[in-house]
Every structure is written in C-alpha cells, then in structure tokens.
C-alpha cells in the first residue's frame, strides 16, 4: 500500500465555516495507507503549496490527497506543486470539500461526515493511482478565425502580427460584419467606416492573413493543436485574379433583389458588392436570383466586363486544412420582430428596426443618407423610438438585457437632431442603461443639448391613421397616457445569436447557453476560452456587447491563441484508455463507438497447444484518445480501461462512499 499524505484546506472560512477540519484530519489519519494528515488555511497559496512539497520530501509520500475546492479550479495548481516535489503529477487526487460540500450543506453535523466520506473516497482512489505521462503533441502553427466582423478582424490582425498564419473565414462576400452597416458609433460619434475600413484593408494586405470570404466552415474534427477543418469556399462566379473591381458589371446588371446589407430596405443587383468599401472588392453572383442560373438567359455582366472575369462555370472549392487553434467571432443578429404585431412592423413602411433606421443615415444606404419617411419620401417631423423590443421579455422574447440599445438609440436620436434639428425625437424606455466609459455623459447630451425627450414607459399599440402613425403609450412617471402622432417609429430590437449558431456549436462541440450564445469556460476567470481546449470566442457571439468590449475580447482571445501557438509541443491528455490484449477478444465494439477514431485493430500472437496463432485485438492510440471512456462502457469484458479512472478506482470510490452511512 503506497504512502499517502492528506492535506485539508480551510479555504479561509469557505470550508472551515461548516466543516470541522479537525475531525476530517483525524479521520483521514485512520484511513489505510495514510502516513500524514494535516491542514492549512490556504492550501492553494504559495505557503500552502510549500507545505505539501516539504511534506512529500520529509515523509517521502507516494500519493497526495488534497481536500480543497473543486478540482476544476485548482487540480492543475496542485499537480504542478506535486510535480515540483518530484512526484508524478497524476498521483494526486482532489476531494471537493467546498462547492460539493461546505457551500451546499449549512449544518456542520451533515457537512463534516460528508467531507470525511469524500476524503475517504479520494484516498481509496489515490491508493490505486499509477504514474501517467502525457505525450507531447506537435502544434500546427496556423490559426483559424471564423467570422469577419470587427472582433474577427482584430483577432486575425493580432495573431498575424505575432508572426503566425491566419485563415479568416467570412460567410458574406465581404468582411466588415455588423459594424460596416453602422453610420456612426457611440460614444465618440466616430464614423464607423473611418475606423473600420483601414483595418479591413490591413487584413487584405497582411502577408500572414489568408482571407476566405463567401466561405463557410463545414466540418471540424481533431483536438487542440491538430484541428482538421473542412471549409467550403462558395463559387463567386468571378475570377478574382482578373477582376479590377471597376463595377461596370453591377451597373449594367438588370436584376434587382432586396439588399441584406440594407436590411431589406434598399435593393441590390444580382451581381453585387455589399457596400462600396467591401474587402475584397470583388463582386459575387447571387446564383439563386441570377437570370442566367435561373432561366439560362441574360449574361449581360459577361458581355460588359472589360476584364472578362465573369466565370459562370466556377465551382465551390473545398479546402481541408489543419489548424492549431480556432477563434470564433461570428457576431449576432437583431431579433425577428414579427412576434410584435402591435407595433405594425412589417405591416407599415414607416415602422423600422434600429438597424434599418441606421441605414437611412448612411450615404451608401437605401436613401443616400437622407432621413426620410419610406411611405412618402418626406423628412419626418416626429420620430418615436421604442426600447426593449424583445429584450427583458420572458413572454415573447429574450429574458436578458441586450446592453447596447439604450446607447445606440441615444446615438440615433443625436444623429437625427443633427440632420433635422426641427424634428422631435421621443424615446420610450424602461430603464436607461448607460454603464460604459463616457456613456452617461453621451446620453445626457442627447437629453440636454439635443432636446431628445425621454419618456419612462411603454407603447401599447401603433395605429396607422391616414398619413401618420398614432403611437399610444404612457409616461409612467407622470402617470399620463400619451398619444403621439409620429412619422417614423424605430424599434430597438433585441440582439440574438446568429441563426446558424447552434449548428456551429455542435460542429465544434462547444457548449452554448439556453439562448444559443456560446458559453465561455468561466465568466470571470476564463472569459474568452471555451471548455474545448484550443477554441476561443470573442465578440457578440458570446453575449450582446458593444464594439469596445468586442475589440477588447478579440485582443484577449488572440493573446490566448498566440500563447498556445507559441508552444513547441502540447501536452496531450494523460488519462487515456488502454487495452489489455490478453483479455480482449477483438470484437472491436470499442472502435465503433470511439468519437475520435483513436482505437484500431492490431494483430497479436497466442500460443495454443504449442502452435502460434495470430488474432486481432483492439489498440488505443494515446495521441488521439481524449479520455472520454465511451469504449470502457461498451466493452463487456472490461478489457479496455481508462487510466486515471480505472475500473478498480471507480469501484474503490463506490466502496469508500458506501462505507459510511
């Protein structure tokens, strides 16, 4: 029986508050194999770790058990400490006395015996621990960034600047994302294009960035350091090497369809670039609406193109590449408002979503920068903004606050008053949330300098009355019902994840929350990492946020990615499966269920009555195995076990936990 040391942590009062440390230490001293049992107020601290290291040397311990917080928190810390004392890091077991015991059981009479039982189980498991060594896997020195919005662009630039090659994949024909659709940004009223376009050009010209627009990720397999990704680069029907971006094709193209970039307000040609500053400035043919692809006629763009760059026969290109890290920055959509019939969105042309209203300000927008009513083209006298449409709504929308609407509505109100000083702007709000740097001051300017009228309350219904829109609402502070004859109604729609977010999450097996935003590993400690090692997230795909935060997260995620890429080798998972050839009968059911294809058949010899017979057995490739254990559940004879969680250890834990009523 190996010499085991048990160290119980007080964790200040977090554990000691409800667990009698003394009793646990004394009980631990009585467990078989335990030669040392002690405690310390802050085991994870420098002094605490030193206590462990010194005791290992003094008592020449062969196994270490620590009773502390969750292993998900500090298992790595204690493994490092144990390794520094010369012990194999996998000869350590952690009993979760905080999150699973002291914090959830108030009565010491219950918490203490449970703590003892958990330590007993950890000791019985530790006694069966075997030294394990992780393999060193090489790291593909290439990063994949999914999503070409401001977050994706910033991340790609940061990674590329540190010398690694980056593939930036963007679904739309051009990078730029949501920010490209904006006119101005809060709180500085910077023109969105002025601060975004230079970065887009920098991406296009950066030697380390390979830009894949009009492309989508189709399949992801492998694991950190060796992600194998299949990307479908959709056919643009234009040869990029020939195209000069002169624009004659989309001038002459006869067919028009609603423009997604202008949020269906304006129209675009079938051969188009989404917006003038598009990067790459190469148009694409929308094959669903192109007359040639639909009915084999037209081909005007081909005739008109001076560079003969049009190529109707071009096929999608499949790119299969290996990446060391993946950084997801796929951004957000604004919520579909059809569920809010009372506002008349989709019924009346003068009821717009905030993003549509933003497009009116834009010089390359549907109204060339003129803020006018879409019903009659005349400038509005009175504009009513309605906040929290879809946000903070458990009945028909999302139960969270979308964080950016109070600010972008105040910004739009200021832009409106700058363009049309006579026009009245009313904002119905529930709570004004202006928590960023310079945000409150910005909103006060809208109210005081620009005379925007803030009404604390809601709008019941919008009644189209003749030429105008009768907005019936209430100002709850004065308790007065209101009726405002408006020319334009702007709805601050909730920010929601992209429609294809669940599919992408499943593709990369990263978790998402119940709204389908991607889940960070830990909100405070690991905000830009996911639970899947090597996959990072940044920007609004993780939760609604403004541009400053998205860019900050992009930088953070890029830094994390670069630290990983900078490693020569990566430690593979040490707790991997292992097959006992003597016991394995070669049915290979384990190979059928292994999600990573880490198990393969191999030959082995067996002497039967003097004769050497070869037979097939299963074998695990430790480099590919991620240690899930699915093979062990499928193997009847227990021929494959999972190191670090062997069958003996699991049974020992069950026995230890059941030993004490």
């Amino acid at each position: 029986m190996p010499r085991i040391g048990v160290f119980i942590c007080w964790c200040g009062t977090n554990i000691a508050g409800t667990v009698e440390i003394e009793q646990v230490v004394n009980a631990a001293r009585s467990f078989p194999g335990v030669v040392y049992a002690g405690d310390y107020r802050y085991l994870c601290s420098e002094v605490g770790q030193k206590l462990i290291k010194d005791t290992i040397k003094k008592e020449n311990l062969e196994r270490v058990v620590v009773g502390t917080c969750s292993p998900r928190m500090h298992e790595v810390t204690f493994r490092k400490a144990v390794a520094e004392a010369g012990l194999n890091p996998y000869l350590l077991e952690v009993a979760n006395l905080r999150e699973h015991c002291s914090w959830v059981h108030k009565d010491p009479a219950e918490a203490t015996p449970k703590a003892i039982a958990l330590v007993r189980a950890a000791v019985s498991k530790a006694s069966l621990d075997e030294p394990l060594t992780a393999l060193m896997l090489d790291v593909e020195k290439r990063a994949l960034v999914i999503g070409g919005g401001i977050a994706g662009i910033q991340a790609a630039l940061d990674i590329a600047d540190s010398g690694y090659t980056v593939d930036l994949v963007e679904k739309e024909p051009s990078i730029g994302g949501r920010m490209a659709q904006l006119e101005k940004t809060f709180p500085t009223l910077d023109c969105a294009a002025c601060i975004l376009t230079p970065k887009m050009v920098e991406v296009a010209q950066h030697p380390n960035i390979n830009l894949l627009t009009y492309s989508e990720v189709e399949a992801v397999s492998g694991f950190v350091g060796q992600f194998d990704v299949r990307i479908r680069s959709r056919a643009r029907s234009i040869d990029p090497s020939k195209c000069t971006g002169c624009g004659i094709c989309y001038e002459k193209c006869p067919a028009k369809v609603p423009s997604e970039f202008d949020m269906e307000l304006g129209k675009r040609k079938v051969i188009y670039v989404p917006f003038p500053q598009a990067v790459p400035n190469i148009p694409v043919i929308d094959r669903e609406n192109c007359l040639y692809f639909k009915r084999g006629r037209c081909r005007i763009c081909e005739k008109e193109c001076p560079a003969e760059a049009i190529d109707f026969e071009q096929q999608d290109e499949i790119i299969e590449r290996r990446y060391g890290v993946i950084l997801v920055a796929t951004g957000f959509d604004s919520m579909d408002l059809t569920g809010y019939g009372e506002y008349g969105y989709g019924q009346h042309p003068d009821v717009l979503s905030a993003l549509q209203f933003e497009r009116l300000f834009n010089a390359s927008g549907p109204t060339a920068g003129q803020v006018v009513r879409l019903s009659n083209g005349r400038p509005p006298q009175r504009v009513v903004f309605i906040q929290c449409v879809g946000s903070r709504d458990i009945a028909r929308g999302q139960n969270y606050c979308s964080k950016i609407c109070c600010m972008f509505t105040s910004k739009q109100a200021i832009l409106l008053k700058e363009k049309l000083p006579e026009t009245e702007a009313y904002i119905f709000y529930i709570d004004l949330r202006t928590a960023g740097k310079g945000y409150e001051e910005f909103q006060r300017r809208a109210a005081e300098e620009y005379g925007v009228i803030y009404l604390r309350g809601s709008v019941g219904k919008v009644f189209p009355e003749g030429e105008r829109l009768l907005v019936r609402g209430v100002d709850s502070l004065s308790g007065r019902p209101l009726e405002i004859e408006a020319d334009l109604v702007v709805l601050a729609a909730a920010s929601v994840p992209r429609r294809d977010a669940p599919e992408l999450a499943r593709l990369m097996s990263i978790n998402s929350d119940r709204y389908n935003f991607f889940d960070e590993a830990h909100p405070k400690l690991r905000p830009v990492e996911t639970h899947t090692a090597g996959i990072f997230i940044a920007g609004a795909c993780q939760a609604p946020k403004d541009i400053p935060e998205a860019v900050a997260q992009a930088g953070a995620a890029a830094a994390k990615a670069v630290t990983l890429l900078s490693k020569e080798k990566l430690q593979s998972e040490a707790c991997v499966a292992k097959v006992d050839p003597a016991r394995c009968s070669g049915c290979l059911h384990c190979e059928a269920v292994c999600p990573y294809g880490a198990i393969a058949a191999t030959e082995t010899e067996e002497r039967v009555r003097g004769e050497l017979l070869t037979r097939t057995v299963a074998e695990v490739n430790p480099a590919l195995c991620q240690g899930c254990g699915c093979c062990t559940m499928t193997c009847r004879s227990g021929s494959v076990t999972l190191q670090g969680y062997t069958d003996e250890q699991m049974l020992a834990e069950v026995d230890a936990l059941c030993l004490q009523r």
Binding site: C388, R392, D393, G457, S458, S476
Partner: protein, 134 residues
C-alpha cells in the same frame, strides 16, 4: 403602514387564486399603454400592480380602476413579464366584493330605459352582474 400583517394574508390569498405574483412586474407600464379604457381610470393598471407590491390595499379599495377594467386581456397578451393582469384585476375585484363591501351592482341601480333593456344583449347583463356582484 406598507406591509401590515393583513397584507401578507391578502397577498397569499390573491396569489393562490389568481396564480399571479405582483412582484414579477418591473413597472414597464406596457399594460397601461395598451389599455383601451385607461382614460377613465384613476389608477393606471401598472400603478394597481405597484400598489399591490407595496400593499396599499386601502387605496385599491377606493380606486375605480378595477371596475373600469373590461377584462379584454390586451394587457396580459403583451406583458413582457408574462403576468396575467386580467386575472390580478379580477382578484382585486373579488377581494373588494368579498372582504369589504358586498355587491356593487343590483338590478335597482340599472339606469337603462326599457327600450335599451330590450335591445341590450342578455350577454351584457350576465357579464356585468358576474363581474360586479357575487
């Protein structure tokens, strides 16, 4: 006195009968904004909920609002907190009828001409007596 002893008994009874909890409301006033008969109300619908949250039962007793409510469910259909104010309003009406005053409508108070009475659908009489008398 905001939270008197009788308040807790009243609110628990109200919650049990209506299945609604006034504390779920964050006072966005969408109900008041959409209510078709709000003009005739002394307390706006969202203020009725606020009074329930603060336990101002005396004022609720005097208010005309519960008797102006036509139970048209517009507020409940649009409430972002999924609160059924129509049920809460009925809860207040029943509380006043049962605990305080007794019936608010009797055949004698109807000021309807015989000719109006003849044209008025039976449904109107049944509804108003069911709402104002127990």
């Amino acid at each position: 006195m905001i939270f008197s002893e009788s308040y807790h008994r009243f609110i628990d009874e109200l919650k049990k009968n209506t299945g609604q909890d006034p504390n779920q409301c964050y006072q966005c006033a969408k109900c008041s904004a959409g209510c078709p008969v709000v003009a005739a109300m002394d307390l706006l619908p969202h203020q009725v909920i606020r009074y329930l949250q603060l336990g101002l039962l005396g004022e609720l007793e005097e208010s005309r609002t519960p008797w102006i409510c036509a139970s048209c469910f517009t507020c409940a259909a649009r409430c972002p907190r999924d609160l059924d104010l129509a049920r809460l309003m009925e809860g207040v009406r029943l509380a006043v009828l049962r605990l305080r005053e007794g019936n608010r409508l009797s055949p004698a108070d109807l000021e309807l001409t015989p000719e109006q009475l003849e044209k008025l659908p039976a449904q109107a009489l049944v509804s108003s007596f069911r709402k104002y008398a127990k």
